[in-house]
Symmetry: C2
Subunit: 197 residues, 2 copies
């Protein structure tokens, strides 16, 4: 019973922190939104900060494990990039609060930016970086491509789309759906870095 | 004299709104930061909202005119894309508060989101969209490229880099400098959409 209410409080807190930022949310608001006794959030989590830390740990933990799954294993570098793009698009649909939480931390870093946000993003960036470096070694990707830059291009193609489209309507009426967007982004990116091109 | 103080108040307000968001800034703080009489911001701008609106109008006006300059005139579509990339990188260096103001509006839209932010971004997106469509017509770019998607890829490659690097240190130590990043991003993007590829 207490576990269920704990989960519910975490769910609502995640939503509120994503929508309003860390400083915009109080235990009172979270309790009201869940119908819990107003003392319960403090009993279960101590402080708003501690609750926010727990939310970030869960969300960035999920991000990390999904990106790892995409980038690890015995796949060719090109396949890993395809798996990564798919994982990012799925994450956006399944964990819609992850990206706003992440962008808010980039704009106004909290005390958890270094230990949770940056540590996770850096870990994933290194995995992607290594994958692209391996593709250059294998002569699949062009020599001269900077793997760190290429990781940023790839992430940017997807992140900016989410930042714009999740929070507003689409900017351009003919903007395709996600799958179409993902496939075209992959084609442009892979054609752009492939050795053959 | 009053004009100079007005400019100074606008400058400080732009910086504070970019750093803390619209709701995080008061006339009192702006007056204190500039050394102005604490009644002066209200005398000159009326309300915090009106001041925020003025800041957005100036910043998005500058964005619009620079992007227009890049995308208009008698240049080939490829050249216009190069000019756009250059203009975005320059803007980032010369108007460092524009991007945080824009991202904050995407995350927490104010009443000025529709009339200022979205209107401007949509206008620039259409110009880029038209340029890519023209490149397809001229058979420079591949038939089948969705111009709206391609605009998002291009913007994303730059925006996400700024979002990550401006507000934190670079994620990956070997990340090249801006010019290097810009040139590689352009190469990947143009190779990816060119008909020859």
């Amino acid at each position: 019973m207490e576990n269920t209410m704990r989960d519910r409080l975490l769910e609502v807190a995640t939503e509120l922190f994503a929508a309003k930022g860390f400083t915009g949310v109080s235990f009172e608001e979270i309790a009201t939104a869940t119908g819990a006794e107003c003392t319960l959030p403090a009993e279960l989590f101590g402080t708003e900060e501690k609750l926010y830390e727990t939310v970030l740990e869960i969300q960035f933990g999920l991000y990390r494990s999904r990106m790892q799954t995409a980038l690890q294993g015995n796949y060719l570098p090109t396949k890993k990039i395809e798996r990564l793009a798919e994982a990012i698009c799925e994450l956006h649909l399944q964990l819609p609060h992850f990206f706003p939480l992440y962008y808010r931390e980039l704009l106004s870093p909290s005390q958890f930016f270094e230990p949770i946000v940056k540590k996770t993003i850096r870990h994933v960036a290194y995995l992607s970086d290594n994958n692209i470096a391996k593709g250059i070694q294998k002569e699949t990707f062009k020599y001269g491509v900077n793997p760190a830059n290429a990781t940023m291009f790839l992430m940017g193609m997807f992140h900016y789309n989410f930042l714009s489209s999740q929070l507003t309507e689409t900017l351009l009426p003919e903007l395709g759906d996600y799958e179409d967007y993902r496939d075209q982004a992959l084609t442009v990116f892979l054609t752009g870095i492939n050795k053959g091109a």
